[in-house]
């Protein structure tokens, strides 16, 4: 019977039993709800912040500037509803009671605004503009000049030339980079620990004894890693797909910015990172006999992963193009979390990505040999935690155990 067939049978069992579990369904739904809620909230907040509407009262002579004030305010993104008043007292009472945001009285230099506490800054600017224009128009008319000529000449803005323009997409890119890296980090951490728990389950149930009478240790380990990895991939694809659809539907992130290469490279880094970490988690799991003991052996692996994520937030995200980030992205155990940040920011040349992929693949090969050895030597040793010398097969008592 070929290894491929055996590994496929083992992986299929892992996949089928896990994808049907309540844990998988609930965690997927929760993540989807979380992402959905986040995206909808973001979209809501963005849409809200751009529009303000004010109810403004104009008393007596002030009514002459209500139309131009409303027009200029609309241009600045503030909607003004005009309420004409004949009595100043009635208007002030409505400001007090909150019916009006502001009450404008008088004309020209004598124009006054009544507000409860503070005046809306846009309204203030617009009123200043319009009253000054009113004064200017009167002055020009008194001296026999046509106001429209001068006002026409004054209708210009200062030209602005940005010498160091802020890239509008930069924040978005960092957010996307962190999203990809964060998803990878959480998934690697969760599914890596599933691998360790799965190995311990078989060990504590002694199923491993029956299995290893039939299959080789490395086939069992690889089958388990493959099966659990496929479950993880299904979840990642599902979550990423829903997030993309929702994000583009609410126009929060446009699909071109979250470009296809970011998504695809994210998948590739997930597969590479998963292989690297799941091998270590499998080896760690094989060294203990009870689920409660897993933290004692898995902690160093978890530590490296957490460190990668912390470096992604503190070093890579603020400065994706910096030397520090570049160096970190080449360290194989960190690459799967750091490199996606650089790729999303568009500062990772293809050849650099290629080199780090090669380094990671070489690491996987080395870890496969190491994890295979530890697993083979440990998985049948029941009792306390397996000693490192035994796990590595360098026990002083002599030759490696089968």
């Amino acid at each position: 019977m070929s290894s491929q067939t055996l590994i496929r049978v083992i992986a299929a069992r892992e996949f089928m039993t896990r994808i049907r579990t309540r844990v998988f369904a609930i965690s997927t739904v929760l993540v989807l709800i979380g992402i959905g809620a986040y995206i909808l909230l973001q979209a809501y907040v963005f849409n809200q912040s751009t529009t303000t509407s004010l109810d403004v009262g104009f008393v007596g002579t002030a009514q002459s500037i209500s139309a131009p004030v409303r027009a200029e305010a609309a241009g600045a993104g503030v909607t003004i509803t005009v309420h004409p008043y004949t009595s100043l007292a009635a208007g002030k009472a409505d400001v007090q009671s909150g019916v009006l945001s502001a009450l404008v009285s008088g004309s020209g230099a004598g124009t006054t605004v009544f507000v409860q506490t503070t005046v809306d800054p846009t309204l203030q600017t617009v009123l200043n503009d319009q009253t000054r224009q009113q004064v200017l128009t009167e002055y020009l008319t008194q001296h026999g000049l046509a106001p429209s000529d001068l006002l026409g000449q004054l209708n210009f803005s200062v030209g602005i030339n940005e010498l160091s323009p802020v890239n509008a997409g930069r924040i978005e890119q960092i957010v996307i980079g962190l999203l990809v890296a964060g998803t990878l980090y959480v998934t690697l951490l969760a599914y890596g620990q599933f691998v360790a728990a799965g190995v311990i389950e078989e060990k504590s149930n002694r199923i491993v004894e029956i299995l290893l009478a039939t299959v080789r240790p490395w086939q069992l380990m690889l089958g388990k890693i493959t099966g659990i990895g496929l479950v993880a991939l299904v979840q990642v694809v599902l979550v990423a797909g829903v997030a993309l659809v929702l994000a583009s539907a609410t126009k929060l992130v446009s699909i071109p910015t979250l470009s296809v290469d970011v998504v695809i490279s994210g998948m590739v880094w997930f597969v590479l990172g998963y292989l690297m970490y799941s091998l270590l988690f499998a080896a760690a799991g094989s060294m203990v006999s009870r689920q409660e003991e897993v933290s004692s052996v898995a902690l160093p692996v978890i530590g490296v992963l957490v460190a990668a994520w912390i470096l992604a937030i503190t070093v890579a995200a603020p400065d994706p193009g910096g030397t520090g980030t570049t160096v970190l992205s080449f360290i194989p155990m960190l690459s799967p979390v750091i490199m996606p940040v650089r790729i999303a920011a568009g500062v990772a040349p293809f050849w650099e990505v290629a080199i780090s992929v090669v380094l990671v693949i070489a690491t996987i090969a080395g870890l496969a040999a190491l994890a295979g050895r530890i697993y083979r030597n440990s998985v049948l040793r029941v009792g306390g935690r397996v000693k490192w010398s035994d796990a590595l097969g360098i026990a002083p008592s002599g030759k490696p155990v089968a």
């Binding site: 019977m1 039993t17 149930n205 004894e209 029956i210 039939t214 080789r216």
Partner: protein, 300 residues
């Protein structure tokens, strides 16, 4: 035929197996008996290749056992070796597939076995919802699903009620009758005595007694129960080489030295009046086992 020859295995200072040898022929149920830690499980793990012996060899049908031939062994480990949350049928199909059956064949074999074991209605239940006895039946089914050439059963009867034991032994007997060698270990010596064709007693990694149940129990001293109600004390005194072991009312347990004539004992008993019982006393395997463990040698 399965041959274990001169197996030795050390765990650091502890010698788990010391020059252990025995054979199991096709159609034979070999009972492996010993105290906890005597080396039974270690021996079975060596046969399964789950553990490697320091020296010695395991021969199957004339050549050293290989990984491929080991895959033809049906194995029940000492503790439960099944997935608690998997259904019974999925579990059996999985083990069938691991032993080389395709999905369809594995499913057919599993269904047939479950019917034979009276578990057809539990096929879709999670293993953990079954009683201990039924779980053990599933364990046996997992060992049989791929039609193995040899059975190695470590404590298959542990914790089973008499009915479940009968059901298990019936199936194991049927497998042996089909020409398969069967090795099983057990603490329940009455079951071993009843079920096994041959027995090996292991102590501290060494085989201390080996043979059929009759052969082993014959090795003890020659003793007879005589029920002679009219006999007076010392009635046997003038039969040479006879001594009293114990007396229970009118029943006398006499031990005969080598060369003593049991027919002479019977004639003497008859001379005293009626004789209601004259029976060879064979120690139960349990007694023999205790003797072996306490160091009373039962030599080869």
């Amino acid at each position: 035929m399965l041959e274990l020859s001169h197996l030795t295995k050390r765990y650091g200072a502890l010698e788990a197996l010391h020059d252990l040898s025995f054979n199991v022929t096709p159609g034979e149920i070999f009972g492996f008996v010993g105290a906890n830690g005597a080396g039974k499980t270690t021996t079975m793990r060596v046969v399964l290749g789950v553990l490697e012996a320091d020296s010695g060899s395991v021969i199957w049908d004339g050549s050293p056992i290989t990984f491929e031939t080991r895959r033809r062994i049906g194995y029940i480990p000492e503790d439960r070796g099944l997935y608690p949350k998997m259904t019974v049928i999925a579990q059996l199909v999985y083990f069938g597939q691991l032993h080389g059956l395709n999905r369809k064949a594995a499913r057919e074999a599993s269904t047939t076995l479950l019917e034979r074991l009276g578990l057809a209605d539990r096929a879709k239940s999670q293993l953990q919802s079954l009683s201990h006895g039924n779980q053990q039946r599933v364990q046996l089914a997992a060992a049989l699903v791929f039609s193995p050439d040899l059975l190695v059963l470590d404590e298959p009867f542990a914790g089973l009620d008499p009915v479940a034991v009968d059901a298990m032994t019936e199936i194991v007997r049927a497998e042996a009758d089909a020409g398969k060698p069967v090795v099983l270990s057990s603490h329940q010596l009455d079951i071993v005595e009843r079920v096994c064709d041959r027995v090996g007693i292991i102590n501290h990694g060494q085989m201390v007694a080996l043979g059929t149940v009759t052969e082993l129990t014959d090795r003890g001293p020659l003793r007879f129960w005589v029920d002679a109600p009219s006999a007076a004390a010392g009635w046997y005194d003038h039969v040479a080489g006879t001594s009293l072991v114990e007396q229970d009312g009118s029943r006398w347990l006499l031990q005969l030295d080598d060369g003593a004539d049991e027919q002479a004992v019977l004639r003497t008993a008859l001379a005293t009046g009626p004789v209601h019982e004259f029976r060879r006393d064979r120690p139960a395997l349990t007694q023999l086992f205790r003797d072996v463990m306490s160091g009373k040698a039962v030599d080869e």
